[in-house]
Symmetry: C2
Subunit: 132 residues, 2 copies
């Protein structure tokens, strides 16, 4: 079913999307911070790193930053916090020494796996899929 | 068509929603700032105030802040900026003197109407309705 939509429908759909995004982010931040001491963005970073591979494959920092939609400075602060908490570590890569890489630690993987059911439960409660 | 979705589909849908939100916000901010000297949030505030009524009906600040999903401090700074630019003004309300109210000025309405086609065009280009 395709039909052309008018400008006000478009603006209204965007307003709904913003509302859904903010409500879910707010609920996730509250639960993840209280129960697992992780912000939404920290959880997303751990999730990307965990998904990178079963042997804690390192990811290029620039690529990871883009995937989690943070500005370079916000991303850099976030990685420093996670590193100080022992959840991620800097890595070097023989093939590409000019780039900065990072990987998840065992403690990071454990924290992620503990937090994941909380994140999934919030998404389910909030109806993250909305009108899809 | 209803079927149960599993946790990973839910997380993936949330990741897509975040991506869409950030891509659209970024494009809107770039165009609205460059062409109309308005951030996305400033545009949304003007839009809510403009929609409040043809005679610049005032809106309760607390209600407006909630509608545009900003923290109280961020919202307060935003209103101050718009006020200094002459686009909104504080208002009092005979029925409820304890609340703070704000309304759009004529210059604010004009700026909003100039910026609206830009915002709508970006939403259309970005496919703001996504998979809906």
């Amino acid at each position: 079913m395709t039909r052309s939509i008018d400008d006000d429908e478009l603006a209204s759909a965007w307003h709904d999307l913003m509302g859904r995004y903010h409500r879910i982010t707010c609920a996730l931040d509250r639960c993840l911070t209280t129960e697992h001491d992780l912000t939404v963005s920290e959880f997303e970073v751990l999730q990307e790193l965990y998904a990178a591979g079963p042997h804690s494959e390192p990811l290029r920092m620039s690529e990871l930053g883009e995937r989690v939609h943070l500005s370079q400075s916000a991303f850099s602060r976030l990685i420093t916090r996670l590193e100080q908490a022992g959840l991620v570590e800097r890595a070097t890569c023989a093939d590409d020494r000019r780039s900065n890489w990072t990987r998840i630690t065992e403690a990071g993987a454990q924290r992620y796996l503990e937090a994941r059911p909380t994140q999934r439960a919030v998404l389910r409660d909030m109806g993250a899929l909305g009108a899809h």
